[in-house]
Amino acid sequence: MSKVNIGERVRRTEDLRFLTGRGRYIDDINLDDQARAVVVRSPYAHATINAIDTADAAAMDGVLLIVTRDDWQREGFGPIPTKSGIQKMKDGSPLRQSDRHCLAMDRARYVGEPVALVVAETPAQAQAAAELVDVDYDELPAVIDPVAALQPSAPQLWDDIPGNLCLDFELGDREGTEKALAEAAHVVTLDIENNRVTAVPIEPRGCIAAYDAATDRYVLYNASQNVHANRDAFATQVLNLDKDQLDHIAPDVGGGFGAKNSTYPEPPLCLYAAKRLGRPVKWINSRSESFQSDTHGRGQTSRVTLALDADGRFLALRTDTVGAIGAYAWTVGPFTPTGGAARTQGGPYRFPAMYYTSRAVFTNTMCMDPYRGAGRPEATFQTERIIEYAARKLNMDPIELRRKNLMPPEMLPHKTPMGLDVDSGDFPLLFEETMKMAEAAGLTELRAAAEAKGRKFGFAIAPYLECTGGGPKEHASVTFNPDGSVGLAVGTSSTGMGHETSLSQILAAELGIDLDRVRFVQSNTQATPLGGGHGGSRGMEVGGSAVLQAAREIVDLAKPLAAHLLQSETEDLSFEDGRFAAGGGSVSMADVIDASMDADRLPDGMEPGCLDHSSVFERGVISVPNGVHAAAAEVDPETGVVDLAGYWVMDDFGTIINPMLADGQVMGGVAQGIGQAFLENIVYDPDTGQLMTGSLMDYGLPRADDIPNMEIGYYEGQPTAKNPLGVKGAGEAGCVGACPAVVNAVLDALTDFGVTHIDMPLTPQKVWRAIKDGGAHDPEGLMRAVS
């Protein structure tokens, strides 16, 4: 491989490893003398735990250790507090923290909550013994639906937290919004449910913990997408260790989507067991347990109200959300329905007034934590659904209604009523470009083809506004090795999206060296002193900027050496396309790197290895990716089956590092949005709290044939000035735009039947029933009890 540039469609260097079965995932790692752990989980959604009898289990063949709450209490291990970005209630009092220990203490509060850890020689022995751990439960009434949980008569999860309310929140101009609603020509209200889903990464969670008594240090190999933050939490919050006693390493990780960002209970349990036994302890979650014990996402019920003037200009948007956060305030769980879903409310439209209010509510379910988008897909869905609904109710063209309300370019930079700093973009341009793509694909012909098959045809367009998030700091270190390789260690975390290629590409392009010299390391607390992992579409924005910054600083470090080699002065040097030049002479960066390791070629004052360099980049203000999705849908009215007939996307991600990888991010995100819109749904029995969708037999994941071909375009005309690369973040936008595009396309197809709203997932049965019922629907049915 030779030189590469930023913006080049470079093939993924990691794919040879992945596609030939040589990836090294957590279950590929086995340490000498390792024992195997299985978690005993609560079969009840809500129950008092009276006693735990481990005698029969401990007597089983091969059993080495059973960890219970008694151990946790005796050791004085702490609970894991939530790090929600919003920590104060509306009245200024602190968010209600729920004591989340790694094992249930007095009560179990969701099906699947860990109650004990059984460690044995083999997984089968551990499983057999786990079934004999005798837990004496007294079942308690459970509450599953967050709206129901707010009722005065609802079962209470926490004795010291009244009304199951963890956090309430408001943002925007309440008075101005109310006034606009009171005076507007049109006011339209719709209750919307954003269904509860889970990430289902192809690799389940798992870890291997090891302890070295000689040094009193631990190593944790963990299928995590955020090793630094979780190292800190495991060491300092739970196990009372110094951070540097724990090395936290993620090997190849098979998908995360947020669900591997969280601080889970199993790794500290294994670390503790490893110390107790003096042997490594390995734990691998089963797929069935994953549905119970991986964090869930979305799960919000909202009332959305839009005010318009007589001409259809938007005057105000008001959203009132109730978000289930599960039994505990998990790693950052309460943030998603509050601050997370607030920021991009209103999308890329001009809104004189906006008001967002919400409540994060405890329920007897697995807990919520970020799932790809974490609040922004909900915000976009609420905004785009109420616009589509208003257009239908007011007999306006939904495309025209959007067109006339988009923020014009001259309005930017603009701070939205939600406080989002929209610095750059051209929303009308992207809107028209997307319409052109769809029209060029032949919307008229697609409609005719659908109708010829007896199907209904629908089309919808959905502009979106995104924002990045996650840790603001990122570290990149570069090491030049005598064998010619260049080590690059970054604190970001790729769970499959290709950082090994894209971050190396930035370094190689900037230094003008061959890409195949770069040896990439990530997700290792030994390799980088800090790192923000993966989350909030921050990989290129913060990680890429750290690499760029480190590379530019290396060029500066190399200048005295290049000048020495060229027998010129540092200030006379230029650097372009990987070459330093001065006067008539030039020298390549590769040569300068070679010289930097040769004491004979170095000037006085420079030592071999002098180009090795680390840099920390810190983001100031989050970026605002934006774009437009459009979808065409065919509906079979006899069965309710939907087929997507076309899909078009224009994205403004700022600078594109590698369009092929960006395409992958968009397609994957759209696939997850389509999954949520049509198939995926976590269902608990509303009375007992038993998980009904506990396997892939009942939890529908999209297959390849559910996903249409997509036409994707990028607008790179306005890179952001918020970071030196000019990137805006690409990772989550796909699933932000997809749900409203496809749902609104289906509802467009159902116009003839009077159907104006169906809550996700739009399964064939729900579509069929909506047609059969002639669109009968209560627009204020979901939130009536709490509004």
């Binding site: 057999a128 069965t639 198939l679 009904m692 892939l696 009942d698 939890y699």
Partner: protein
């Protein structure tokens, strides 16, 4: 998974003896149901008796009247069989739409019938085509074979050896897949045979596969989709689950039956 003793006998007699000798033996053909339930601990047999070592249990034979399929013949083999495609294309089509490629390369017709999953595809074909299930002891008419959810009239230790299908005049199978599992939420096999029209429905009945008598009568008068206008199977005896209520299944049965008739009429 609990430990078990594994045997792979060479012939039927040895398989039967192994079963008789075990307190709790399970036959395995393709293992596409048995292995998952073993892994989940839902079945914990002491002995697993693998039937794949019995050579003459597998294969497809055609005669002038129809097709005979050996019990351990894979779904993929049935789907790809020229003989089946010629004699009963609807059966090859059905086999080619069972599960996914992995399932089709392992799963067998005998295993599917012996298991009698209410959402399996093969029972609809066997019942609609009035096939004969041949065992190591006797021949069982399709009508007498299926006996409710996961239940058949096979006796303890009895092994299906092959299934004999007479070629229909025309037939077709239409499946409405469960959106999550892609098992049949409703599957309708329609066959017009020398003995009349038969319509068998899988995926929907509370007691497993069943025949839709009213539809058969209407189609006997006129083998056309329109003949089924206004005819619906009562929802009372149909399954309700989170994916489809009984009334939706009843509706889908009529839709799938009409589509099957239309396809059979077009391909004949």
């Amino acid at each position: 998974m609990q430990d078990f003793h594994f045997t792979r006998p060479d012939d039927l007699a040895a398989a039967g003896q192994a079963h008789q000798a075990s307190d709790d033996g399970a036959y395995m053909a393709g293992g596409q149901t048995l292995i998952p339930v073993l892994k989940q601990g839902l079945a914990m047999p002491e002995d697993v008796i693998d039937l794949n070592g019995i050579a003459d249990l597998s294969g497809i034979e055609a005669d002038g009247h129809g097709i005979t399929i050996g019990a351990t013949t894979r779904h993929a083999s049935v789907a790809a069989s020229e003989a089946v495609c010629q004699a009963i294309p609807a059966l090859a089509d059905l086999a080619g739409r069972i599960g996914d490629p992995q399932v089709r390369n392992r799963g067998t017709i005998g295993g599917s019938l012996a298991n009698n999953d209410p959402s399996a595809d093969y029972p609809a074909a066997v019942l609609a085509l009035n096939a004969t299930v041949v065992t190591d002891r006797r021949e069982i008419a399709a009508e007498a074979f299926f006996d409710g959810l996961f239940t058949t009239n096979l006796n303890e230790g009895e092994i299906i050896t092959r299934v004999r299908f007479a070629a229909p005049d025309r037939a077709a199978y239409e499946k409405f897949p469960n959106p999550a599992s892609r098992y049949a939420l409703v599957g309708v096999f329609v066959a017009q045979t020398a003995d009349g029209v038969r319509v068998a429905v899988t995926g929907a009945g509370q007691d497993g596969v069943f025949r839709a008598a009213e539809m058969e009568t209407a189609l006997a008068d006129s083998f056309s989709a329109g003949a089924l206008d206004g005819i619906a199977v009562p929802a009372d005896d149909l399954m309700t689950d989170m994916h489809a209520a009984a009334d939706y299944r009843a509706h889908l049965i009529t839709v799938m039956a009409k589509r099957a008739v239309a396809r059979a009429a077009a391909t004949a």
